[in-house]
């Protein structure tokens, strides 16, 4: 199942855990576990949900503090 998840992620794109669970015919909880497993193996990286800009650029940015998008993981390449 982990291999099928890796194959799915290699196709690229954006997924919700529920999308992956449906595609793999399993539960979101198990997908969560597999994603954490892949993150431990370095196959995917956790995404910090913070504005990536510098403090100086954020000072006048109308988006400061509002620019987080709920990304959790991304593939490394």
């Amino acid at each position: 199942m982990l291999e099928r998840l890796i194959a799915l992620l290699e196709e690229g794109g954006t997924y919700r855990v529920a999308d992956l669970a449906r595609a793999l015919d399993t539960t979101p909880e198990l997908v969560e576990m597999m994603l954490e497993d892949l993150a431990r193996r370095g196959r995917i990286q956790p995404v910090e949900p913070t504005c990536p800009s510098s403090p100086t650029a954020c000072a006048d940015c109308p988006l400061a503090g509002h620019c987080s998008v709920p990304l959790r993981f991304q593939t490394s390449k």
Partner: protein, 678 residues
């Protein structure tokens, strides 16, 4: 589950067995393992450290019906790899001490997570009894776990219980005792691996046979070698003759995907167990979110809904905001300018003109669309707070994948709707230089708040009731140009590889008005600060250039510059004033309005009315098209230089956007004029 027998009924034994039954308590953290341990051992427990380790070791004894039990609480672990000390201690204890029974405490409410450890316990040389704890919590959450079905699927005894409520303890102890006495047949169903990997496993097993140090089970050692377990690998490297190790090592190197295959087998196994024994509810709120998301996040319908939502935002902004903007123009800016003039009636004419025409006419004109922006910010903050903006990100990404853009680019591009500066900075998250460069080049094509502010101000003046449609069309045009440019540049610069993202969409919920209010306040304040600093300075500079040397804008330095550039502007239907307004937007996008305010001395009557009376619709449309596609503000260009570390790419970006704006503006003007001639 029985509720009438609890551990308090455990009697003091009259006859004590010679050798106590050794029981190991295994489980992940927070599954109630410690509660069960304390419940069974009471005061008869000893806390120390595992030999040579700083990890706490808890051990205790208790007796039941004359039988003494020695209970060892293993460290809480999620698996039995060699990656953590706790996991190493747990597996070494089971292998070396060979407990009579291992109680695997699992959480019935999160069975998947608990079962991974069980999958690793089953191949070890000790019988396992599964204590299905927290059945009460699972029931409260509407999760139905069938212990008998799980038992049949696992092939080991499963006892439902609740350690907190002391339910099922006697049944557990009875099962443990019967298991220890060999009265229960033990036929665990182990996780399987792919057939090709199975052959590799057998091949390793054959080569290590006879060399595995006691008491390690050879099959388990072969599996751990296949998994790349560092402890077992080191052990077998020492135990095997060098030439035999080289053979094993060569097999392992040729099958480095086996690590994933072994884990994959365990996940398949967990999936089967859960499918067989667990039924989950579809709760009301989650159901509503899922139902809505079927449409809102649909790759096609989601885009239509997004277009509709954006259209609604613009419509609302204009319907309510435009009249307020008119009132601000008449009663605030007009009154203020008149007041300054009458106050400075005795002062030099240039000072009165500087303040009334330069500062108030320029920065004041920009400030008049504060009500429109407040409404725009409020609707965006509302959408963000109810959970829709996260869906925008999701839908936008699907859209970009359809046109072949790099998936990783969507986050910074999405930020661009607020401001292009963080969009360019946000590309730092992209490791690939080519992908990052492509995203930087595309980021200025996302219509930022400042560009939209200009559109929001000018569209109603020129197009009246059709303003929302025009604004919506301009956003669509920007995104279409972005997509086409992306496809083109992607083919040239980018190899077409795509990243995957996993994102969490929050549940839809009722808005928190305080959060929305704070957001609107912060964004509006930031806009007012900008109007009070950069735009005031630019307004004064524009006034100076428009007032000297001749005294009237028509004979000014600015007119000279504008007229010099006018031949290019004429191709797009723009006169020198609109050309200068575009140039001034390089400092900050809102300066387009401020500049036109100064050039038309707009405080005496509304700028919107003057512009509507001055320019025909093809010119107005071409100006708006150029405005949304024109080179970004100086802050964004500076950031592009900083992030690309290259003047060449910065100039390429500026040139690319100039060309796009010029071509699109020219096409718009001529097509609109052609239509207008009918």
């Amino acid at each position: 589950m029985s509720t009438d027998r609890t551990v308090s009924q455990v009697k003091t034994p009259s006859v004590v067995r010679e050798r106590p039954i050794l029981v190991a308590l295994a489980g992940q953290p927070n599954v109630g393992k410690s509660t069960l341990f304390n419940l069974l051992t009471g005061l008869h427990q000893h806390v120390g450290n595992w030999p040579g380790k700083t990890v706490e070791r808890k051990e205790g004894t208790f007796t039941r019906d004359g039988t003494t039990y020695r209970l060892v609480d293993l460290p809480g672990t999620y698996s039995l790899t060699a990656n953590s000390l706790a996991e190493l201690i747990a597996r070494e204890f089971i292998i070396r001490e060979r407990p009579d029974v291992v109680i695997a405490v699992v959480d019935a409410a999160t069975l998947e997570r608990s079962l991974y450890l069980v999958a690793e316990l089953l191949p070890l040389p000790a019988p396992v009894v599964v204590a299905l704890n927290m059945m009460d919590v699972a029931q409260q959450e509407g999760i139905q776990v069938e212990p008998k079905v799980l038992q049949a699927a696992l092939g080991v005894p499963v006892v439902p219980m609740s350690a907190v409520h002391k339910i099922g303890i006697q049944e557990l102890l009875e099962t443990v005792e019967r298991m220890a006495r060999g009265e229960i047949p033990y036929t665990p169903r182990l996780p399987q691996i792919r057939q090709d990997q199975r052959q590799v496993l057998d091949s390793i097993g054959e080569r290590i046979a006879g060399y595995v140090p006691s008491p390690y089970p050879p099959e388990w050692v072969a599996l751990k070698l296949l998994e790349g377990d560092p402890e077992i690998t080191a052990m077998m490297r020492s135990a095997l003759p060098p030439e035999r190790w080289d053979e094993v090592h060569a097999i392992l190197r040729a099958h480095d995907d086996a690590q994933v295959a072994v884990a994959s087998g365990r996940y398949e196994w967990i999936g089967r167990m859960v499918r067989a024994a667990v039924t989950r509810p579809r709760a009301g709120q989650i159901g509503l979110t899922e139902r809505l998301d079927r449409w809102v996040t649909h790759p096609v319908f989601g885009l239509f809904i997004l277009a509709g939502v954006l259209g609604l935002v613009f419509w609302l902004t204009y319907t309510v905001g435009a009249p307020l903007q008119g009132l601000m123009e008449t009663y605030v800016v007009g009154t203020l300018a008149d007041g300054v003039r009458s106050l400075l009636s005795g002062a030099p004419a240039w000072l009165s003109s500087l303040l009334a025409d330069g500062v108030i006419g320029g920065a004041g004109a920009v400030l008049t669309f504060l009500p429109i922006l407040v409404l725009f910010f409020a609707t965006m903050a509302f959408l963000e707070d109810v959970g829709y903006m996260a869906r925008v990100a999701y839908v936008m990404d699907s859209f970009m994948r359809l046109i072949g853009l790099h998936g990783k680019s969507f986050l910074p591009l999405f930020l661009g709707f607020g401001c292009n500066v963080p969009a360019v900075l946000g590309t730092r998250m992209i490791e690939s230089r080519r992908a990052r460069l492509l995203t930087i080049l595309l980021a200025p094509l996302v219509p930022c708040t400042a560009r939209m502010a200009v559109v929001v101000f000018l569209a109603p003046a020129f197009f009246g009731a059709a303003a929302p449609l025009v604004s919506w069309g301009l956003v669509l045009l920007s995104l279409t140009v972005l997509a086409l440019t992306g496809i083109l540049l992607n083919r040239i610069l980018f190899g077409g590889r795509r990243s995957a993202f996993i994102m969490e969409l929050p549940l839809y919920h009722l808005p928190n008005w305080r959060t929305i209010g704070l957001s609107v306040w912060q964004r509006s304040l930031s806009f007012v600060r900008k109007a009070g600093t950069v735009i005031v300075v630019v307004s004064v500079v524009i006034w100076l250039l428009s007032a000297f040397p001749g005294g009237s804008p028509e004979e000014s330095f600015l007119a000279l510059l504008g007229r010099w550039l006018e031949p290019a502007g004429r191709l797009l239907g723009l006169d020198w004033r609109l050309t200068v307004a575009l140039l001034s937007s390089f400092i900050a996008k809102e300066n387009s309005i401020a500049t036109l305010g100064v050039l038309f001395r707009a405080n005496e009557e509304g700028l919107a009315e003057i512009l509507a009376a001055t320019y025909p619709l093809p010119t107005a449309l071409a100006f708006l098209v150029v405005q949304v596609l024109f080179i970004p503000c100086v802050a964004t260009v500076g950031t592009i230089r900083q992030e690309t570390a290259s003047w060449r790419w910065t100039l390429f970006s500026v040139g690319l956007l100039l060309a796009i704006a010029f071509l699109a503006g020219g096409a718009t003007f001529h097509i609109a004029r052609w239509f207008g001639s009918f």
